[in-house]
């Protein structure tokens, strides 16, 4: 456990020194979402209809773009080899890194989402559910992304390949996340969708560190 917090504190401290990472992710999220009113016209009914889907898909893509920083720096300067050689279980170290990654990139997305919901004319009743669904969904996105980015460490054109591997696994999160917020904006129960989102988080919370650690070990041979 102390290994997890040690890695967590280290990554957070490193990110604190280069705040550009968080800012870039949020800026991409905001800018790409704001393109939609220009694309489909400013009519409120159309924007409100597509708001939930657009915010979720853009959050997905922003999370995808942010994945590279999860292992890239450590792989380049050799810290990843040191982490893999340490006596602490690699799974816990991975969990610490993924948690740090979510705090650095996922949490800013959640904080930015009400502003974007305002831009896209989302119904007011859906705001709390949007925040809650993103709160449950974005850690899952970080966990799934960790699997993808660890599998492609050292591959040619790894960036595009990560998208190809990770997006099919993102689709269930997208389906239930959008389902929850759409239900809330229609005045229906969002709880079943949120519970299924939580189920996905519960599935990937143990699965991702195990798969990622296995992938890292075979990548660092």
């Amino acid at each position: 456990m102390s290994a997890l917090t040690a890695v967590l504190r280290r990554d957070l401290r490193l990110a604190w020194r280069t705040p550009g990472d968080s800012v870039n992710v949020v800026l991409f999220f905001v800018l790409s979402t704001v393109l939609f009113p220009f694309g489909v016209g400013p009519a409120a009914e159309i924007l409100a209809r597509i708001s939930v889907g657009v915010i979720w898909v853009m959050a997905l893509l922003a999370a995808l773009l942010s994945l590279d920083r999860l292992f890239r720096q450590d792989a380049d300067d050799g810290s990843l080899d040191l982490l893999a050689l340490s006596p602490a279980p690699l799974e816990f170290l991975v969990l610490g890194k993924v948690l740090a990654h979510w705090l650095i990139t996922g949490l800013p997305l959640i904080i930015a989402s009400p502003l974007l919901a305002l831009f896209l004319q989302m119904p007011r009743e859906a705001y709390p559910t949007l925040l809650l669904a993103l709160l449950i969904g974005t850690p899952t996105l970080s966990l799934i992304g960790a699997i993808g980015v660890s599998l492609t460490l050292g591959a040619r054109r790894g960036g595009v390949l990560v998208a190809l591997l990770v997006l099919p696994l993102y689709i269930p999160v997208l389906i239930f996340g959008v389902g929850a917020v759409e239900a809330a904006s229609a005045g229906l129960e969002a709880r079943p969708h949120l519970l299924l989102l939580g189920g996905l988080l519960a599935l990937f919370l143990p699965l991702s560190p195990v798969a990622t650690a296995a992938a890292l070990r075979q990548a660092l041979h």
Binding site: L151, T152, A155, L165, P168, A211, A214, A219
Partner: protein
């Protein structure tokens, strides 16, 4: 099992069983197609269009079966480090992708006259589409590394992560309200399909399976030879003096 880790042993086994599986594939497919196209009755509701089922359902079964086989080969690779397991997974993945594509296309062709739409985003079709993307990701991962063993191990981990999709596909028609019809063959209480249709369906399924085995055997043998070629190229590159080595070697 480890006896067949020796490529020569495997080649002997493959050469022995290949004619049988190919012959059985031809016989089953011929008999299945005869029954499917001529000797079985049209559906009371769908008429003659039901005959697409004899292609669509076996390819769907093969798509799921192949992914499970790839996952098993991946587990064998990661746990026992059996060298042929990597070649088997590499050989089976594109075949499975083709079966999935066949399933999606034949289903689409069936859906247009029956449901009035080429595509619908219900749980069964969506999860099979995800299966297709998982196959494509696997194939991409296999080919993304210069060292083939790296690619094999990475793809093995991806296969094991994605195998959770296979039971989701199977039970999607039970867990969700889908336009796709519920299970009528592999279900509690036995098949609900008429025996005159079940026979050609099973014949086609066996034909597809024997075809899959034959094609996988061909592909594994090709992979073994490709590895041998690669090893020879490396040995030749190392044997040349350093000054005489050219970029094209």
């Amino acid at each position: 099992m480890h006896r067949y880790a020796n490529p020569a042993q495997f080649q002997r086994l493959a050469r022995a069983i290949f004619p049988w599986t190919t012959g059985l594939a031809v016989i089953c497919l011929a008999a299945g197609l005869w029954f499917a196209l001529f000797a079985s009755p049209p559906d009371y509701q769908q008429g003659e269009t039901v005959r697409i089922m004899y292609i669509h359902v076996p390819s769907a079964w093969m798509a799921m079966f192949t992914y499970t086989a790839v996952a098993v080969a991946s587990a064998v690779l990661l746990v026992w480090k059996h060298p042929l397991a990597e070649l088997a997974a590499r050989a089976m993945a594109p075949v499975g992708a083709c079966f999935t594509a066949l399933c999606l296309i034949s289903g689409s062709l069936w859906g247009e006259p029956m449901w009035g739409t080429w595509w619908v985003w219900d749980a069964r079709l969506t999860s099979v589409l995800i299966l297709f993307f998982l196959y494509l990701g696997q194939i991409a991962l296999f080919n993304a590394f210069d060292d083939p063993t790296r690619g094999g191990r990475a793809a093995a981990i991806l296969a094991l992560v994605g195998v959770v999709n296979v039971p989701i596909i199977k039970f999607s028609v039970d867990w969700w309200n889908t336009l796709h019809q519920p299970a009528s063959v592999v279900r509690l209480g036995g098949p609900s399909i008429d025996p005159s249709m079940l026979l050609p369906l099973l014949l086609m399924a066996f034909g597809f399976t024997f075809y899959f085995v034959s094609v996988t055997l061909i592909r594994i043998r090709s992979e073994i030879l490709a590895r041998r070629l690669r090893a020879l190229q490396f040995a030749q590159g190392a044997a040349e003096p350093a000054g005489a080595r050219r970029a094209s070697a």
